[in-house]
């Protein structure tokens, strides 16, 4: 090493090689812990991102814009506050520069009738041609998306309960905004399977204009919005609030609080727990090997102290040794995780359906910049903390006791 490297660092580095078997054992412990952290974090991120994408691209978009207080207040005639001039609002939203596309919708409850079967469902009127470019996670298991105003697409569970398939006719019965019963005959265009049991068991979609006709209104209930990415929501939301102050916004994770937010919180706390276990394994492994290694060096340390080496400098050398162990082990762990990501996990990890989900997932590790930093820094900090106590105890020992030790 160069003469410019501080002597303490140089000595600490060389001391890593004094017992290669023990150093290797420590490095393997740290590296496996670090790789485990990184892989699990990438896996967690993969699950969350897939779940997030699914939530956004099935139903909610990045967020929604609706009349102020619409979801918070009890409104006796909800349609009375619906948005009147759809096109003007669309223009204002797009003019903010933050919104890439807007998807006007109405939602309503209706009875779907097929022969003697009569089922309640939740309908949405959408502009299918516009929606299909962004809402790509609908997953048609039979038929196709809406192509004409007299068609309907049904969730898998709902279609099964009705006993219908593509090409069959169903009747939708709903109450108009004036309280009269209205009906619409629709041809089943497709059956979708989003993976969310709740959605697939009760939802159907029809053309927006047809839904407005059924409800006897020309208003829209809300707009789903598409923005460049999830992270841009705060700026987009602020711009929308400024452009259309009579409306308010909600991001997808609040709209789907029950499933998405809870799932994220659940995965986060699960990850925290597993991270603690991994760090504890590193700490125990390191504590054991460092303590054993230090005991073997007690005489040498006693001799150094007898010749005037200070406790502080010795502590620094030994602590830097542990830090280097943590750093090298952490880096090796990252290398191992990257190799596994590019080989073993390249095709993704098949996962069974989660709670409330009916579809299998294939999770890809999504390792991000801050994960590498964590996989390097957490084992490093853990290693230093785990070794601090045995080092401190050793350098505090009386010198004659150290000299008698070996």
């Amino acid at each position: 090493m160069s003469a410019f490297v501080p002597p303490v660092l140089k000595l600490a580095w060389r001391n890593l090689f004094r017992n290669t078997r023990r150093t290797s054992a420590s490095l393997v412990t740290v590296a496996l812990g670090s790789a485990g952290l990184l892989i699990y974090q990438g896996f967690n991120e993969g699950i969350m991102n897939q779940y997030r994408e699914n939530t956004i691209r099935v139903r909610y978009g990045h967020g929604q814009v609706y009349p102020k207080g619409y979801y918070d207040k009890k409104i006796e005639e909800p349609w009375s506050v619906w948005i009147e001039d759809r096109e003007a609002v669309e223009s204002k939203l797009k003019a903010t520069g933050h919104v890439l596309e807007v998807y006007p919708r109405v939602s309503f409850y209706a009875f779907l009738v097929k022969g003697g079967i009569n089922l309640g469902g939740r309908g949405e009127g959408v502009i299918a041609e516009r929606e299909r470019k962004f809402f790509t996670a609908m997953n048609f298991e039979a038929g196709h998306d809406l192509q004409s105003p007299d068609e309907v697409i049904l969730g898998q569970g709902l279609a099964k309960s009705l006993g219908v398939g593509p090409g069959d006719l169903v009747t939708a019965l709903a109450q108009t905004v004036r309280g009269q019963l209205n009906g619409l005959e629709l041809k089943v265009a497709g059956i979708f399977h989003t993976g969310s049991k709740e959605f697939d068991d009760s939802f159907f979609r029809i053309d927006l204009a047809a839904a407005q006709g059924l409800l006897d209104t020309n208003r829209v209930e809300h707009f789903a919005v598409q923005i460049p990415n999830v992270e841009a929501w705060p700026q987009a939301s602020a711009a929308i609030a400024k452009a259309v102050p009579e409306l308010e916004t909600k991001p997808f994770d609040e709209l789907d609080a029950v499933y998405y937010k809870n799932a994220v919180a659940f995965l986060d706390s699960q990850f925290s727990f597993i991270r603690s276990i991994l760090l504890l394994i590193i700490a125990l492994g390191i504590f054991n090997t460092i303590a054993t290694g230090l005991l073997e060096r007690a005489g040498e340390i006693g001799a150094l102290r007898a010749n005037g080496e200070s406790r502080g400098r010795l502590f620094r050398i030994l602590a830097i040794e542990s830090a280097l162990l943590g750093l090298v082990g952490g880096a090796a762990g990252i290398g191992l995780a990257v190799i596994l990501d590019k080989t073993l996990f390249k095709a993704g990890i098949p996962m069974p359906p989660g709670p409330g989900i009916t579809r299998q997932f294939r999770i890809f590790l999504e390792i991000q910049g801050q994960h590498y930093l964590q996989a390097l820094s957490l084992p490093l900090i853990t290693t230093v903390i785990a070794s601090a106590w045995p080092i401190w105890r050793l350098v505090r020992k009386p010198i004659p006791e150290l000299l008698r030790a070996n």
Partner: protein
Amino acid sequence: MALYEVERVEYGYRWERQDVSVLKGVTIEIPEKSFVCLVGPSGSGKTTLLNLLGLLDRPHQGRIRFLGRDVAALDEHTLGRLRLADLGFVFQAFYLIPTLSVLENTTYFLAPLGLGIREANERGEEVLKALGLIDHRHKRPAELSGGQRQRVAIARALAKRPKVILADEPTANLDRETAESIIGVFKEMQKTGVSFVFSTHDTHLVSYAETVFSLKNGIIERGVST
């Protein structure tokens, strides 16, 4: 001024619920530039006295003055500084750092003493030359014989240019010829003002001593100056 003034020093410990007295009222004086041997059977208190003279421990009773300073009045930091600057220790087991070269081991304490890398290396090489180790300066301790390692341990102590070198059985692991050459180095260094205090069983080394303190059961039986 005397190098050491040891007055009625007592030292003991508890072993299996019994007080064991190791040194019982030891009084000696060691002048500067001395060549002193502590002799006596195992368990007589030689190593304990050497530890006390090396400022590694404090007496339980009595007083030790090192260069006129009462050791009992000094804090840990000051004792550490004195050990670094004025004392050199050589151990029977050498205790060299296996990951450092001979030269790096020799100069290990020179950075804390404030020497720069170049000055430290020059001093280290000078000492290694005097001890016949200059050709081995880039080797690791594991590549050396026992006698060579002992000389490196001595070089490490000498490089500090201490007032006194204390050594526990410095010739115990050496053959006669090597021991002879090392004693020669000690005598040479003594001329430059360094004192030597050895704990030893080696009668050959004792024959070179100017003062021999014979310990038995923690008491100085004889103090002989030649």
